[in-house]
Amino acid sequence: MALNPMDIYKLLPKTNCKKCGEATCMSFAFKLLNREKKLEDCKPLYEDKKYERQRKKLEEMLKPLEEATETGLIVDESLCTGCGNCVVVCPVHVEKDPKGAAVGNGPTIDDPILRVEDGVVKVINMQACRRYGKNRVLCVVCRENCPSDAIRFLEG
């Protein structure tokens, strides 16, 4: 299920109390999704009893954030068949591994982003992903070419 900041915002107190250090609750919702803030930073949500139901819903909603990698990539190994499409399509692999993943073989470099191990894809080196860090690009080619929906991103 895709997470979006609007859904998070709807469950926040919407008082713009600034106790979290953000100017607005909407901005806090964005930071939550980017994992720059934690839900616990919203003090009223935990202190005021009237927000308890909303807080529980939010905790449930934000669970995928914990299993996702730093770039928001989530791999469901139970769905993966190890076809390796994601490994071969990855533009970073093409650049770094022209004799391996770029031409369809398994990666020949030591630190590929993704690699098929024991029949399923595993995340090895997320730091190399184009989605990582400050100058990130919202690349989704691995998800787009996964025939079994084993790869998804937090944003959908």
Partner: protein, 397 residues
């Protein structure tokens, strides 16, 4: 190492620290679980020495009036040759799974009725890739990523991004069809013959049912000097007459070069087809007694019509894979199973001879779906393998 899991025969698989790298889920299971569910030598349900089981097998085959040899698709070419020798000596029947799989398509390729190429050439040169009646997601997991659509090749440096055009023909939106997004076309068909007809008519400039889709595909084909059709079981069973398809490929070649490669079968099914073809000129369901091949000599037909009294089954599990009305007839005849695993057929067989898993415990040659011969690189060499067993049987006769 070479993975013997399917006819892709992937050559970049390796094992390190007990983990299997680069193999798909099916390939991984072969390497990771090869020691599980192993069989032991048995005669009439009692455990015996391997040599005694082989002697008993020879005895059964000698006494049989109409013996058949069946299976052989997961073993190596060297063992297949010996099996053909045994069938010839017995004047019996020989068949493999290709009689209800893609045998017909392989035969057309071997006879030169369909122009063919290799997967390495496809990777380097192919532009339009048509997957017709096959879903490699299930049958050949790494086909698209290793050989066809995704990899970058010499003349196709931008790979699937811009240098390939994917066409998927199927009766439903399969997992492979879902991948047909940019630079691609999914054609849903009710009747394959109508689509074949549409291709022919569009080349001739006539109106046709699928003219819109087919028109796009042919326009793309004309842009390149290398296009391929991969045909699977959907193509074989969707068409009543394969000649129509052969005509279509011929017609397409008038406007653009189009090659054909069968897709989707056991590790060495094409190896069996080629080996038998070299020997007798037919790819499967052959009777040495009648010196001819025919539908009535398919193992399923022989069993169903109770034409055989003994069967030597090598590396396949008909009790599991054939319909009950056919496989139940196995109980009426004498059966010998040569298999590394305790298959369902091994449980009901009169004689069971434990073998080695080709590619893991036994070396040899296998033939990829495009006809390229691949030398296996096993983890170990077991003395008792299919070649040893079939050689002993051959000598014993």
């Amino acid at each position: 190492m070479i993975c013997p899991g399917c006819s892709c025969l992937c050559d970049d698989v390796y094992i390190k620290d007990g983990r299997v790298f680069n193999a798909c889920r099916r390939g991984r299971e072969i390497f990771a679980k090869y020691s599980e569910n192993r069989t032991v030598a048995k005669v009439d349900g009692k455990e015996v020495d391997v040599d005694i089981a082989i002697e008993k097998a020879v005895e059964i085959l000698k006494d049989a009036k109409n013996p058949a040899i069946y299976g052989l698709d997961t073993t190596v070419v060297e063992a297949q040759k010996l099996a053909i020798d045994v069938a010839e000596k017995l004047n019996g029947y020989i068949d493999d799974n290709s009689s209800f799989c893609l045998g017909e398509l392989v035969e057309a390729v071997l006879k030169g009725e369909l122009p063919t190429t290799t997967l390495d050439e496809v990777r380097d040169n192919a532009y339009v890739l048509v997957y017709w009646g096959t879903n490699p997601y299930h049958s050949l997991s790494r086909h698209l990523s290793k050989y066809t659509y995704y990899p970058r090749g010499k003349k196709r440096p931008r790979g699937y991004d811009e240098d390939r055009f994917l066409v998927v023909v199927d009766v439903r939106r399969s997992e492979t069809a879902v991948l047909a997004k940019k630079n691609a076309r999914f054609i849903r068909v009710d009747d394959d013959a109508e689509l074949v007809d549409s291709f022919v008519k569009v080349v001739e400039g006539k109106a046709a049912k699928y003219a819109k889709d087919v028109g796009v595909v042919i326009t793309e084909m004309k842009k390149a000097d290398f296009n391929v059709i991969f045909g699977g079981l959907g193509l074989k069973y969707g068409l009543k007459d394969l000649n129509q398809f052969k005509e279509m490929v011929k017609k397409l070649n008038e406007v653009a070069p189009v090659y054909f490669i069968p897709a989707g079968f056991h590790g060495n099914m094409r190896g069996f087809n080629e080996t038998l073809f070299e020997r007798v000129g037919h790819v499967n369901r052959y009777s040495f007694g009648d010196s001819k091949s025919g539908e009535e000599f398919a193992f399923t037909e022989l069993l169903k019509n109770e034409k055989i009294d003994a069967a030597l089954i090598v590396g396949t599990d008909p009790v599991y894979s054939l319909p009950f009305e056919v496989s139940s007839k196995l109980g009426k005849i004498k059966s010998i199973v040569v298999d590394p695993r305790m298959s369902f057929t091994a449980r009901i067989a009169d004689v069971v001879i434990p073998s080695a898993i080709s590619g893991v415990e036994a070396g040899g040659t296998m033939v990829r779906s495009d006809g390229v011969r691949v030398k296996l690189e096993p983890l170990e060499e077991k003395e008792i393998n299919d070649v040893y067993i079939l050689n002993k049987i051959k000598e014993g006769l």
